[in-house]
Symmetry: C2
Subunit: 344 residues, 2 copies
DNA sequence: CCGGCTCGTTTAATCGATTAACTGGAGGTT
DNA sequence: AACCTCCAGTTAATCGATTAAACGAGCCGG
């Protein structure tokens, strides 16, 4: 590939490189006569000139690149939406995203940080692929933005889903449908999920608002996968009629998928006999269950956007406290009124 | 952030920048005395020097960055595995990945190409998030690698899944279990899926090998989602006993999920009454169905690796024909022998 | 004692664009 | 006529590293 330099354009247009630069890099500074501009542009077009951003970056000290360090691109299907949000904003702002996946390896993280700062990126985003509290790696610049994680110590611009409000919305949906015996199929504590505690808080809050005494027997824990959900839902459905829940709020859509299986196995129909709300709005699951699952969406795309907007200075952020991104409820068909014998 | 230049290190070590450069950029060319090397390294460490790769890139004409243009990061959960494969190789080779998502917009594609070539990336990968034939965008360098797509015209290094072999493996698994009436739940033609045709070819090939006359009634098409699978599977299961299939090969795991639902609704047990094989090994679906789904995995990670290896010259590729990456079968629990009355 | 050879290091050109400072000439003012 | 002001563009320094070529000191052989 032949590289065309600015000098080549200048020569062809019969002007200096300075003139070419001024014409091509927008109308700042001195004004160049329209004829000359025209001539330069034609020359550039003719020789197929493309400005070399490495050289420009060296001179201007900005690369129009943003580093995105993430712990794992691979293992979750959420990643895409978050990247998409970040990427969209980057493009809108004329920036490129440089992606590094550290696979949760501290050494890899250090190297990535070196590589990116060496690369003179204009901004940095540190992303987790599921909501958690992180020890900020040393060497992470002050103005880096945390995406889907909150700093264990210190103040940093950060954005996380508003899990508490999401949990509340889920339960509120069930309360509104008339349910009073609402179970929470939670993740086991050993997974140490921030989301687990917060969604539970939302659950309790709405029960309190509705004047429903929480029944500890309805807060069950299992592994947050389909199998765990099936097993936990099974236990609940095998309770005596008066103790059995008429609705379940599941920690995630996979558990909800398991709850569907448990209900079907017992010939219970959703939502006639049992209402279910999930969490995550997992692509290819939630919408495809039968009936489609009412669930709370994680705002990955929006968080990705937010982080990139803050990183590029398009939006201000208060570093003192993580920004809470709302988790909208996605109403589908898994919630209905409780069965008649439980109605009012 | 104070920027430390090589000159600062040189000053502190009492040598020239040339010496610092030679010490720091590996032991090529002239040899520097061990004492000086030591001194330089200490100085660099002391002032916290980090080489400015923009400057280096300008001089050496290589950026150690690889551009990855993809049509949609967002809409599929596969993307992650492909990125992960590419990213891993890039890291092994000391390169960074610059990601651009064009969202299938031709204009965005053109801009991305400009941005990346302007950025002087050392290599380019053009990725699709599902297997298809693409019109290679004009301006894509000759040595760019195509990932999960084949060029409509011209010869390019490219890698795609071996769908035909995958389809064959799926059907062979069923034949081996003793099935003779094997349905193919295909995607509708209007989606124009390359994979559809190839998997069907694999299906036919294995039937032929096994001496089974293909029954056109067992090749049904539907929308390739759970609902389509449910409906198509339902139609097949409602056939008379002697026409009904004992096994189904589904175009993808979502359709398989629908087939499960159809079977359950008819009180058929998997795999006792019906065997099912899917395709994609979709995370969070295949393994979580009950029983876990036997399926064919799309080798996204491996294709990502392959593309990056070719892009970086670690591996040679024949541009004349796309490289076919094997799709391994993932055996779980949805395949068994046909029901007794159909056995031999 | 001098030319030649190593060895370790420095000098200086270079990559390609940006931009502050300057220039030369047209036109205006007093 | 002398001086100022614009205008349209040029000159040259600069960003920070790499590297071919040059350099000087020490050593050896004749």
């Amino acid at each position: 590939m032949v590289r065309v330099r600015m000098a080549d354009v200048a020569a062809r247009a019969g002007v200096s490189t300075a003139t070419v630069s001024m014409v091509l890099s927008g109308g700042k500074g001195k004004r160049i006569s329209p004829e000359t501009q025209q001539r330069v542009r034609e020359a550039a077009e003719a020789v197929g000139y493309r400005t070399n951003s490495v050289a420009r970056s060296l001179r201007t000290q900005q690369t129009r690149m943003v580093g995105l360090i993430s712990d794992t691109i691979a293992s979750t299907p959420y990643a895409g939406r978050m990247l998409a949000g970040a990427n969209d904003v980057a493009r809108e702002q004329g920036h490129l995203v440089v992606l590094v996946d550290t696979e949760r390896d501290v050494e890899a993280e250090r190297l990535a940080l070196h590589a990116l700062t060496g690369q003179q990126v204009d901004a940095l985003i540190y992303a987790c692929m599921w909501h958690r509290v992180v020890e900020v790696p040393s060497g992470l610049p002050e103005d880096a933005v945390l995406l889907d994680c909150a700093p264990a110590t210190g103040a940093r611009a950060a954005v996380v889903p508003d899990e508490r409000a999401g949990g509340a919305a889920a339960v509120r949906e069930l309360v509104a449908a008339g349910h009073r015996r609402i179970a929470f199929l939670d993740a086991e504590e050993r997974f140490g999920l921030v989301a687990s505690r917060l969604r539970y808080e939302g659950y309790l809050q709405v029960l309190a608002e509705a004047g429903i005494e929480p029944d500890p027997a309805l807060h069950v824990r299992a592994e947050p996968v389909a199998g765990g959900g099936r097993e936990a839902a099974g236990r609940l459905l095998d309770l005596s009629a008066e103790r059995r829940p008429t609705a379940m709020f599941c920690f995630n859509d996979r558990m909800a998928m398991g709850a569907y299986a448990a209900a079907h196995r017992r010939e219970l129909s959703i939502p006639d006999d049992l209402s279910i709300v999930g969490y995550d709005d997992q692509q290819l699951i939630a919408a495809e269950l039968d009936p489609p699952l009412t669930t709370i969406a994680l705002p990955h795309y929006e968080m990705g956007r937010w982080a990139m907007e803050v990183a590029l200075g398009v939006r201000q952020a208060d570093p003192a406290v993580p920004h809470l991104m709302p988790c909208p409820i996605i109403r589908r068909a898994s919630v209905g009124p409780p069965p008649a014998q439980f109605g009012d």
